[in-house]
């Protein structure tokens, strides 16, 4: 069982300092030999993973080929989204399959939510110390 890797919160707005710190994790996404490095917001309040439109295009995903519509809500309710599956790698851990709601929206960050980022990784937040730990889920049999 690999050890957890520790990541630091990122201050989004330097003028606000700690008030704008969010848990962003560097992430490598791969789709049919195309690779894109992004920072994903580890968001325990999000029901699902969300991928902005441009990142999907950089991965070579073709909108018209994605037939599974995904219904979003909140700020994203007006943006059409399709389900896509890519390979994601965090730190030194083994790659995992990540399902994303690929949205037409480009304002949204890469969101890593309950389905299925939190189903693949165990995550522990230490907001008071501006760090969070991630490690792959433990197999049910262990």
């Amino acid at each position: 069982m690999p050890d957890a890797e520790r990541f630091a919160y990122v201050e989004i707005d330097p003028s606000l300092g700690a008030a704008s710190a969010l848990p962003y994790v560097p992430l490598r996404l791969e789709y049919r030999q195309n690779v894109v490095s992004v920072s994903g917001l580890v968001d325990s309040g999000a029901a699902l993973n969300v991928l902005p439109y441009d990142v999907g295009l950089q991965l070579g995903v073709v909108w018209q080929e994605q037939t599974r519509a995904v219904r979003l809500c909140g700020n994203l309710a007006d943006s059409e989204a399709r389900a896509i599956i890519v390979t994601g790698t965090v730190g030194q851990f083994a790659p995992v399959r990540l399902a994303f709601a690929w949205t037409r929206n480009n304002e949204v960050p890469v969101i890593l939510g309950q389905v299925n980022f939190f189903m693949e990784f165990d995550i522990c937040f230490f907001r008071s110390r501006f760090t969070f730990d991630i490690k792959p889920k433990e197999s049910q049999g262990n």
Partner: protein
């Protein structure tokens, strides 16, 4: 380490260091409060699709189908 652990050390400091400590703590607290006040003036978008359970179910089905197809 608690305040009661620190107090004897703080009380033993020379007067100039005590003044410096007061200034440091005051500046630290002011910075925290300013950050909160600045945040109150800003519009912060909340992107989290926190109720998108139907969409989440769609993704789970997509993963299952992908697993079956690969």
């Amino acid at each position: 380490m608690s305040l009661s652990d620190l107090l004897p050390t703080i009380q033993a400091l020379p007067r100039s260091d005590k003044l410096r400590l007061i200034q440091l703590l005051a500046a630290d607290m002011a910075r925290e409060e300013r950050a909160v006040a600045d945040l109150a003036d800003k519009t912060v978008p909340i992107w989290s699709p926190h109720d998108a359970f139907e969409g989440a179910a769609t993704l789970l089905r997509a993963l299952e189908q992908d697993r079956g197809g690969s």
